[in-house]
């Protein structure tokens, strides 16, 4: 096999349609454009010779695109021999890219999908997932491969970091209209990634139970009203949207919680004293929290609580008595 060699290549000789080794996704970075404009190409692109004097891009597609944009040619490239296998070329492309930058989730997904076309799954998991800073697991591989099912605007958002890969994975199984409805909501309010996942789950589960699409769930009057109330802080409205969905998904727990709040308010606990139910009202262990300034103060608070604990109203709070 002939050794790679350097050669000035006219850009018209490059087969721009051949994307077999293309693993970049996203807009051309301005920093790279400015660098090439100022000092020219510092890293030489890698091409593979093809039939009829044509060339396939193996690595450096963004550099070459910028050169084309700036009218810089011919471009000196390193040329690989035509006999090199597609898998070997792809491997070079991947190693070349990961050595110089962090790939975005869409690019990682592209790498895994392309490698999987020529390598067995265990090898892709064992060699390429760690290379991409991913935990080597079959489940995660499947998740990344499924990202390819997203629409272009979502892939763009994923590539530029406005859509997190965990959120994207949660959106993948949904219908495109549901994905759009949810991502529009996430565009309006800055939920954390875990809350985004929770909201997707809630909308899906409510939709399944009530026989409607998640997008329909988001059209509820309560949510629509909160989205319109532009004068109120977005953070508060986001929290209310989340609580609304939680309440609709878990009506029993929500009703119990509201009853607890009402009953404890009616109890008239001393100030600086708080009664805390067990998580989800599961199990017998309640907590009492109080703040105090001195031993005498504490004794006074505890005496008041002790008197209150004897009252039937206090027992009512503790017992889940009102079974619907």
């Amino acid at each position: 096999m002939a050794e790679p060699h350097l050669e000035p290549i006219p850009l018209a000789a490059i087969d721009w349609q051949d994307t077999s080794c293309l693993i970049t996704y996203g807009p051309l970075p301005d920093t790279l454009r400015r660098s090439i404009q100022a000092v020219g190409l510092l890293q030489i692109p890698l091409l593979q010779g093809r039939q009829h004097g044509r060339f396939r891009i193996v690595a450096g597609s963004r550099r070459l695109l910028i050169c084309r944009e700036l009218g810089l040619e011919p471009v000196t490239c390193q040329i690989l021999h035509e006999s090199l296998s597609p898998e070997a070329c792809l491997r070079l492309a991947v190693y070349d890219n990961v050595a110089t930058r962090v790939l975005n989730p869409v690019e990682k997904s592209l790498v895994l999908a392309k490698m999987l076309a020529s390598l067995p799954r265990p090898q892709v998991i064992g060699e390429f997932m760690p290379l991409l800073d991913l935990e080597p697991s079959s489940k995660l591989l499947s998740r990344y491969l499924e990202l390819q099912r997203l629409e272009k605007d979502m892939l763009d958002a994923l590539a530029d970091g406005t859509l997190h890969e965990r959120t994207a994975s949660a959106l993948v199984p949904l219908a495109p209209s549901d994905r759009r409805a949810l991502s529009a909501l996430f565009g309006e309010f800055s939920f954390s990634v875990s809350v985004q996942e929770e909201i997707i789950e809630l909308a899906v589960e409510i939709g399944r139970r009530e026989g409607m699409a998640p997008a329909e769930v988001l059209k509820a009057d309560a949510i629509a009203a909160l989205r319109r109330e532009q004068k109120r802080p977005a953070r508060h409205r986001a929290e209310e949207i989340r609580r609304y969905l939680q309440g609709r998904r878990t009506p029993r727990l929500t009703a119990r919680w509201e009853r607890f709040l009402r009953e404890t308010q009616e109890l008239g606990l001393p100030s600086h004293v708080r009664l805390v139910p067990p998580p989800y009202f599961e199990g017998p262990h309640w907590r009492l929290e109080c703040t105090f300034q001195s031993g005498k103060d504490l004794a006074r608070v505890l005496q008041a609580v002790a008197v209150m604990a004897e009252q039937p109203e206090f027992q009512t709070v503790l017992e889940g008595h009102s079974i619907s």
Partner: protein, 356 residues
């Protein structure tokens, strides 16, 4: 109901056992892969089409895994195999076991030695043993014929009882056996429409009750497990009808015990149910994490279901022992009006039903 795998995978070391001979007789037309040792990774990928037969290298008797923070009945497991082919949507084995193939343990000589030693080592203790924790007790009985060895064995064991839990009607081999009142045949019950949607491979309600009636006719004591109780629309009516059918079919005075347990599962099962049982409405109800990390119905609903069932069941017989499976003392008090501690503990309550 006959279980029919597509192939057999048998470890060479157990080739010369009575159980393997019975299996080969029964499935004489099936292809057999003889292997040195069942490969754990390959088994984990099992698609449920093969029956695996292996030597078991662990303890045949285990205590019920139970769950922390909730009261356990103290059941002991006689571990004769794993997995089930009935396809219940809620089955915990889907998350608990990685492979889907049924597996039987064929080194039964080792099992008998361990069982005899176990019973001999604590003769004063009451032993309630069952084979239905990691498999259905009677699903493969027409093939293994193990009931014909286990039941007569337990007939001679003082202070021990064998509970065979099933969702099948495979009771033919139990007829005519000398059981000495020391085998309890138990069925898990649900309304027929839930059986159709959530227990698609299991026997129907009427078939289960008819099998129970036959067992009672042969002198066996019975047990029933309303577990999992499933809160679907109209569950009150559905379970009322089940209790009515139960009362009309068997003599409640000869029921050893009835357990109640609402649907609960480890979180990992949620995704499996969604993926494998797309039509199931099982996950529509609201769930909260319990003290053991499993997802459960909210306590108000659990109490409501237990009260409904226990009220119906108490009408059948004053003496009926009803217990809750994996619930806390406060739920016991709220649902049944007492806590097991007031009656010596749950294990003691159940032990009292074992003939001395």
């Amino acid at each position: 109901m006959t279980y029919l795998p597509k192939r057999l995978v048998i470890e060479a070391a157990v080739a010369d056992t009575a159980l393997v001979r019975r299996i080969l007789d029964c499935y004489s037309r099936l292809p057999v892969d003889w292997v040195e040792r069942l490969d754990a990774e390959e088994s984990a990928l099992g698609d449920g089409q093969a029956l695996e037969v292996a030597g078991f290298r662990g303890r045949f008797i285990k205590v019920c895994p139970g769950t922390r923070s909730y009261l356990c009945c103290g059941y002991q497991i006689l571990h004769l195999g794993t997995q089930c082919s009935l396809g219940c949507t809620y089955c915990i084995l889907q998350a608990y076991l990685s492979g889907r193939n049924l597996r039987l343990f064929a080194n039964l000589d080792d099992m008998w030695l361990e069982l005899m030693e176990h019973l001999r080592s604590s003769p004063r203790k009451v032993h309630r043993l069952g084979t239905g924790e990691f498999m259905d007790s009677l699903l493969l009985d027409p093939v293994t014929r193990l009931s014909r060895e286990l039941i007569p064995f337990f007939a001679d064991q003082p202070r021990a009882v064998l509970e065979l839990k099933t969702k099948t009607a495979n009771v033919e081999l139990l007829e005519g056996l000398s059981h000495g009142g020391r085998t309890i045949v138990a069925w898990s019950l649900n309304p027929q429409d839930l059986i159709q949607s959530e227990e698609p491979g299991a026997a129907g309600l009427e078939a289960r009750l008819e099998a129970a009636r036959r067992c009672q006719e042969w002198g066996y004591r019975l047990a029933f497990h309303f577990d999992p109780l499933i809160a679907c629309p109209g569950w009150q009516q559905g379970y009322t009808e089940v209790v009515n059918r139960l009362a009309a079919t068997v003599d409640p005075e000869r029921i050893a015990w009835i357990s109640l347990g609402t649907l609960r599962f480890m979180p990992a099962l949620k995704e499996i149910i969604r993926r494998r049982h797309t039509g199931s409405a099982l996950l529509h109800e609201e769930f909260v994490p319990g003290l053991d990390g499993k997802l459960r119905y909210f306590r108000d609903l659990r109490v409501e279901m237990y009260r409904h069932l226990s009220t119906l069941l108490r009408r059948l017989s004053r003496d009926l022992l009803i217990y809750l499976c994996m619930e806390s003392e406060d739920i016991w008090r709220e649902a049944l009006g007492f806590s097991p501690a007031e009656r010596g503990g749950l294990s003691a309550m159940l032990d009292s039903r074992v003939p001395s």
